[in-house]
């Protein structure tokens, strides 16, 4: 089931009512959450529930064993076994064919005919998200940052909590698990705020991203014959599409969770208003980037080592982060491209002090440069092959330099929606989300606030683009 599907329209109110009907019985409430989360996931393909169950039970058991075990080496073996199992499942379903193909190509280029079998496997939706979430629990218990939980139901609810199960935010056990273990009471303000965040999320996904997708798909399908202007429009629209799609999903997930009295961590903080690339990566897919920071970058030495080792660490993190996105070299190249961008200030020794606080109009040149650098990276990310990605960029540059601008033939409505989103987000850039309206001026009247919400809702219902699967489901 997806947030933008009809079944969810009936699923959510029903689950909401039953959930709060069980308000004073935490165990039942958690059990109910597990059941509905499994229904939510199983709606897509129930066979893969077994993978979630294996991940959950293995992490739960690892936690308990780690807690009982004091001997350091044994603890190490336990955590390693859990990592191997969970990353093994991930590798098998997501990367097996990729590595097999790469090995075959490599062998062929050396003149060796290698017969590596390929598997016909469907990629389970959200496997990278819940695998990383369960790993964070085991590692935190191993590091003694968190005590192992004995409550299996609460732990299952933590791993499978439906709003964030398939596309994040990747929640840390230290944040989400305690919320599953304590009683929750309905909070009017929190629920209303959740609905507002959902509304904005739906607008970003269904109006902005899905409208952009139509033009982007067409432009990408014929990029070899497309003129410069439309190639540029395609690049910019995809930049907004992926943002609207993924941050929209995160907003809906966070908003939905708030309806259930659960606070999820922020995943996006207006990344396209970043003044540097490093600031962008502090604002984009925050839950994944902090995961890599805490469990990979810092253990490797982080930035408290020599410049060269820091740069090495950045390259490792971003290459793996690229690979996390999908089994394709385009993602790795995209990750490395970002690593290069991030390494430049490290090499020159420039600190990003100017990126603190809310972006202002005077930062516009920096914001635009950062935006363009990021947009170039998205071209590689969007392309099916590295050749296509670089071909697209080369054609864009060549056509621009030859003055073959061409006409603005598609994506006009998408541009309008993107502009509307950017304006709203700029005006509300100091808020946690766009629809946290100010208490003064026109919006102090409920009727004005409701009018705006109603208009947004109508826009979503009437002006949404052709339904598209969330891009990050494939990751």
């Amino acid at each position: 089931m997806t947030f933008n599907s009809w079944p969810f329209l009936f699923f959510l109110p029903l689950v909401f009512l039953v959930y709060w009907g069980l308000a004073k019985r935490l165990r039942w409430q958690n059990l109910f959450l597990v059941v509905v989360s499994y229904v939510f996931y199983g709606w897509w393909d129930y066979r893969f529930l077994i993978l979630i169950l294996v991940t959950t039970l293995s992490s739960y058991a690892s936690g308990l064993l780690l807690e009982r075990q004091q001997e350091r080496n044994t603890r190490r073996w336990l955590v390693a076994a859990n990592l191997v199992l969970n990353l093994g499942i991930l590798a098998c379903f997501k990367y097996f064919n990729f590595f097999a193909d790469t090995l075959r190509t490599l062998a062929a280029s050396l003149g060796v005919g290698l017969d590596v079998p390929t598997l016909r496997l469907v990629l389970p939706v959200g496997i990278s998200f819940y695998t990383f979430q369960s790993l964070s629990y085991t590692i935190d218990v191993y590091r003694r940052k968190l005590s192992a939980t004995h409550d299996l139901t609460a732990f299952m609810a933590y791993i499978s909590f439906f709003p964030q199960l398939v596309a994040g935010p990747i929640e840390r056990a230290t944040d989400l698990l305690p919320q599953m273990l304590r009683g929750r009471t309905f909070n009017y303000g929190q629920a209303v705020d959740g609905l507002r965040q959902m509304l904005w999320g739906f607008f970003k996904k269904m109006v902005v991203a899905d409208t952009c997708a139509l033009a982007v798909n067409q432009i990408w399908a014929g990029w070899q014959e497309t003129d410069a202007l439309m190639l540029l429009v395609g690049m910019l629209l995809f930049t907004f599409q992926i943002y609207g799609d993924f941050s929209g999903y995160s907003d809906i997930a966070i908003g939905t969770a708030r309806l259930f009295g659960i606070r999820l961590s922020d995943n996006f903080r207006l990344p396209y208003f970043s003044r540097t690339v490093s600031e962008f990566w502090r604002r984009w897919h925050i839950s994944l980037m902090t995961w890599f920071r805490d469990y990979l970058y810092i253990p490797l030495g982080g930035s408290r080592v020599s410049r060269l080792v820091t740069i090495r660490n950045v390259f490792i993190v971003f290459a793996l982060s690229g690979l996390w996105h999908g089994a394709n070299w385009t993602f790795v190249v995209w990750g490395l491209y970002n690593a290069v961008l991030l390494s430049l200030p490290i090499l020159t020794g420039r600190k990003g002090n100017s990126t603190q606080g809310v972006p202002m109009l005077r930062n516009l040149p920096q914001i635009l440069v950062t935006f363009l650098l990021v947009a170039v990276g998205w071209v590689i990310f969007r392309s099916a092959t590295i050749t296509e990605g670089f071909g697209y960029l080369m054609r864009l540059v060549t056509e621009l330099s030859c003055g073959h601008l061409g006409g603005f033939t598609m994506g006009k409505s998408a541009v309008v929606w993107c502009l509307l989103m950017v304006v709203f987000e700029w005006l509300q850039r100091d808020k946690r989300h766009v629809l946290q309206l100010p208490d003064d001026g026109l919006f102090r009247y409920r009727s004005c606030r409701w009018l705006l919400y109603n208009l947004l809702l109508l826009l979503i219902i009437l002006m949404h683009g052709e339904e598209q699967t969330f891009i990050y489901f494939q990751f």
Binding site: V192, W450, E466
Partner: protein, 300 residues
């Protein structure tokens, strides 16, 4: 909690009210799907010649030129799946039906299912013609789920038809001056380029089912290939054309291919692959005359 639920309901009330009114208004507007359904409900028992197919049939077949009681049940982009449905749906009412004219040509045979291309038409079949494959509680149950269709319906008369089911919108006066330009031809050909050969294979099977059904009811099935402009025909994919011909010939129905008929010149066309009202009159007369002669060979 109660306050929250009441406020949610109050908040949704104006939106739901407005959407309901808009949906009712859209459904109230006349459209050819409802027109044709209502006509068939009342007169299906009188029909002797039934015309099925896509826009080539909708704009190209004029029942008034047929001596027998004929009705045009074609629609824009109507796929064989829907042709089959319509035939079966009204079958219990047919009393005098003798001939089924089915336009099966290059344009329709390779098109992707309507659900992937013009979803709003599925909504119309569901809402106005009782097509049962989609639920009313899905996106196919509401007109407002596709604003592009709403805009088309509000601003365009391609959604209407006359009392014989024919759509008179493609007149010479309305024709664009560059109706046969290279770009128009290219875009028309590209529109019907095969994107999925499985769809074509499924269409073959559907066609065979229709043919089998007609045979079992002692009905004559005539498979028509509509006249198209020469420039358009020259640009067609030969592999697709061959596949189409083979598909038609395996049905043992009467095949009448007008795609390269020399009686049609560029002036008869509204665009590269659609006839004008006058071209339609010419084609309809030609088919009618062949009826009177009674076709004796299966493939002409």
């Amino acid at each position: 909690m109660r306050k929250f639920l009441i406020r949610c309901l109050l908040f949704l009330l104006p939106v739901v009210g407005m959407l309901t009114l808009m949906e009712l208004y859209m459904r109230h507007l006349p459209n050819s799907y409802r027109q044709k359904h209502e006509w068939m409900e009342r007169h299906a028992d009188e029909v002797e010649v039934l015309m099925l197919g896509n826009s080539h049939g909708l704009f190209g077949l004029r029942p008034e030129y047929f001596k027998s009681k004929a009705y045009n049940l074609c629609q824009v982009s109507q796929t064989l799946e829907y042709d089959e449905f319509l035939l079966m749906h009204y079958a219990p009412s047919f009393r005098r039906l003798r001939d089924v004219l089915l336009v099966v040509d290059y344009s329709g045979f390779f098109d992707l299912p309507l659900e992937q291309t013009e979803r709003f038409r599925c909504t119309y079949y569901r809402l106005y013609m009782d097509y049962p494959m989609h639920s009313l509680w899905s996106r196919y149950g509401f007109e407002l789920t596709d604003m592009s269709a709403v805009k088309e319906k509000l601003s365009n008369d391609r959604m209407l038809c006359d009392s014989t089911g024919w759509n008179p919108a493609y007149t010479v006066i309305r024709r664009s001056p560059d109706y046969l330009s290279d770009d128009c031809v290219k875009s028309a050909v590209e529109h019907h380029r095969c994107k999925d050969w499985n769809v074509a294979a499924e269409n073959r099977r559907t066609l065979q089912r229709i043919a089998h059904w007609c045979r079992s009811r002692n009905l004559r099935l005539i498979l028509l290939q509509a006249p198209v402009s020469r420039a358009y025909y020259r640009s067609l994919d030969r592999r697709q054309l061959t596949y189409l011909q083979e598909g038609l010939e395996t049905t043992d129905a009467v095949v009448a291919d007008y795609s390269t008929d020399p009686h049609f010149c560029d002036a008869d066309f509204f665009d590269p692959d659609h006839l004008t009202d006058e071209g339609a009159a010419k084609w309809s007369k030609m088919i009618s005359e062949r009826f009177q002669k009674r076709i004796i060979k299966n493939v002409e």
